[in-house]
Amino acid sequence: MNRFRRQEVTAAVVFLLPFVLTYGVLFLWPTIQLAVLSFQKAPLIGEGQWAGFRNYARLLNDKLFATAVWNTLYFVLLSVVPSTLLGLVIALGVNRLKGWTQSVILACFFLPYILPVSVVYRIWMWITDNQFGIIQYPIAAIWGENVSIFRTLPLFMPTVAFITIWWLIGFNVLLFIAGLRNISSEIYEAAALDGATRWQTFRRITWPLIWPITVLVATIQLIMQLKIFDQIYLFGQGGRTDSTLGMVELVYRSAFQKNQGGYAAAVAVVLFLVIVIVSVLQFQLARARGQR
């Protein structure tokens, strides 16, 4: 039993106590409570009754749940793939530049990323405003009249996805640039000596070598966008939110507007599981990559 030195263990306890305490109270306990709550018929605050799998059974017949799942996947599709590819394209362009030009250009792409979602929301509400928004000039020229973008259902998700890409692309660009810098210039020099065209160089050298970063960026985006709430909620405020809500928004609504804590927890557990599965897959992928 004396594998551990007493003095060291005491020190460890002191060092770990604040962290373990916050972690236990604010993370482990709520996680356990979430699972318990999902099996109860309970209001948001107050005692609940055991309900077995009834909440989960209800999910299957809830049209709103189906919409939420569909919207979440639709949003993921609209945002993850384009933002990954566009991030790579921009990184390739930025990486060619040198010195201060590169810093300035990179800052242009990156600045939106560090802004709060609310600021992004305000800026784009102004740009798309259906009376005075600057984007209404081209829209009116093509369409013939102003369009209330966030009140037009087919336009809602694509526009929110577009704005999200504008907002977050800087993150992807940064990771891709780091990846591109890791490719040794000798390979490119050799290719240039052999007279490889620009496209061949990209296809045969850059693309395969940057692939691990591409996977990383795509999975990080995937996990992040599965949790989509802020943008959809903000841009959808006051609209037909029944058809635009995502999974987190369904949790929010069930719990805070309908006071159905148990049901909200069940939705959250499903989201939880989806994300854990995706993360485990990503982790395995990363490990497989590391071993190779």
Binding site: F19, F27, V117, W126, L271
Partner: protein
């Protein structure tokens, strides 16, 4: 003769390459301008007189420059209080997260104690847990503590940052063992080791993590939005989306508030560009 043609074709090929390169650079610059335009447009609008904002046509520069919108927002609205709330809660999150994570990272990296592996695995696993899934139970917990509509209520659920601990652990792992042994020989305690050796050797990482934690806390929307319903306790990110002028929409003023909300972060980024980049790489799992 053949020599001549050789040089010629190579020259044309080089020229073509340069042309293609020029086009790519041109497109990149154009893309950057497009990307920055919404920000530019917001800033410019906030510097216009309210009536000028509504005049038809696109004015890329204000006809009449003014700071009135900013002055109005700062003196006549609650934005100042929201700012303070954001500042206090974000700083609190940053300080607590960095301190507790560094300490925990040190213990896991350098000390031998029972349950160390278990703790490490728990940390790695919690990496995956989506925090938004916990909003219901965080709300219940904060309600039980009576902390809704308070700074603490906003701060507490944001303190879960397994990534920060993991990064600290990795950096402490790479501090050479010789230093440690020499210091222990001289009779240094664990606390001296931590504060005099391990933290100072990793100031760079601490700065980077502090900046990224601050940015993250400032940008939080969902949790502060749930935890606070009284206008005077709102963070600026929540306030600007939930409280509207009673006298209808004022575009220039609204944008002035929004720009103020984003300004500290923009400055932080422009000053600490390298650190921000490093922190993002680290949290994404790439050692920068």
């Amino acid at each position: 003769m053949t020599d001549m043609t050789m040089t010629n074709t190579r020259a044309t090929r080089l020229r073509r390459l340069n042309l293609a390169g020029g086009i790519i650079t041109g497109l990149t610059v154009l893309g950057a301008i497009i990307w920055a335009f919404p920000l530019y447009w917001a800033v410019i609008t906030s510097l216009k007189v309210e009536q000028d904002v509504l005049t038809p046509g696109i004015q890329l520069l204000p006809e009449r420059w003014t700071l009135d919108n900013y002055i109005h927002v700062l003196t006549k609205t609650q934005a100042g209080i929201w700012y303070l709330n954001s500042l206090v809660t974000s700083l609190a999150v940053t300080v607590i997260v960095v301190l507790t994570s560094a300490a925990a990272g040190y213990a896991i990296s350098q000390l031998r104690f029972p349950g160390r592996r278990l703790l490490w695995w728990l940390l790695l696993a919690s990496f995956m847990v989506p925090i938004p899934a916990l909003i219901v139970n965080h709300f219940v917990l904060m309600a039980d503590f009576g902390l809704l509509n308070s700074w603490s209520g906003v701060v507490l659920p944001q303190l879960i940052a397994p990534v920060t601990v993991i990064i600290y652990k990795q950096f402490f792992d790479s501090v050479p063992k010789d230093f440690r042994e020499a210091a222990l020989m001289d009779g240094a305690t664990q606390f001296q080791l931590f504060f005099r050796l391990y933290l100072p050797m990793n100031w760079g990482i601490t700065t980077a993590l502090a900046i990224i934690t601050f940015i993250g806390a400032w940008n939080q929307f969902l949790w502060p939005f749930l935890a606070v319903t009284s206008e005077s306790k709102m963070n600026i990110t929540v306030g600007i989306t939930q409280v509207y002028d009673a006298f209808g929409v004022r575009y220039a003023r609204d944008l002035a508030t929004a720009i103020l909300a984003g300004l500290p972060l923009a400055i932080l980024y422009l000053v600490f560009q390298r650190r921000v980049t490093q922190a993002i790489m680290l949290t994404a799992g790439i050692k920068g």
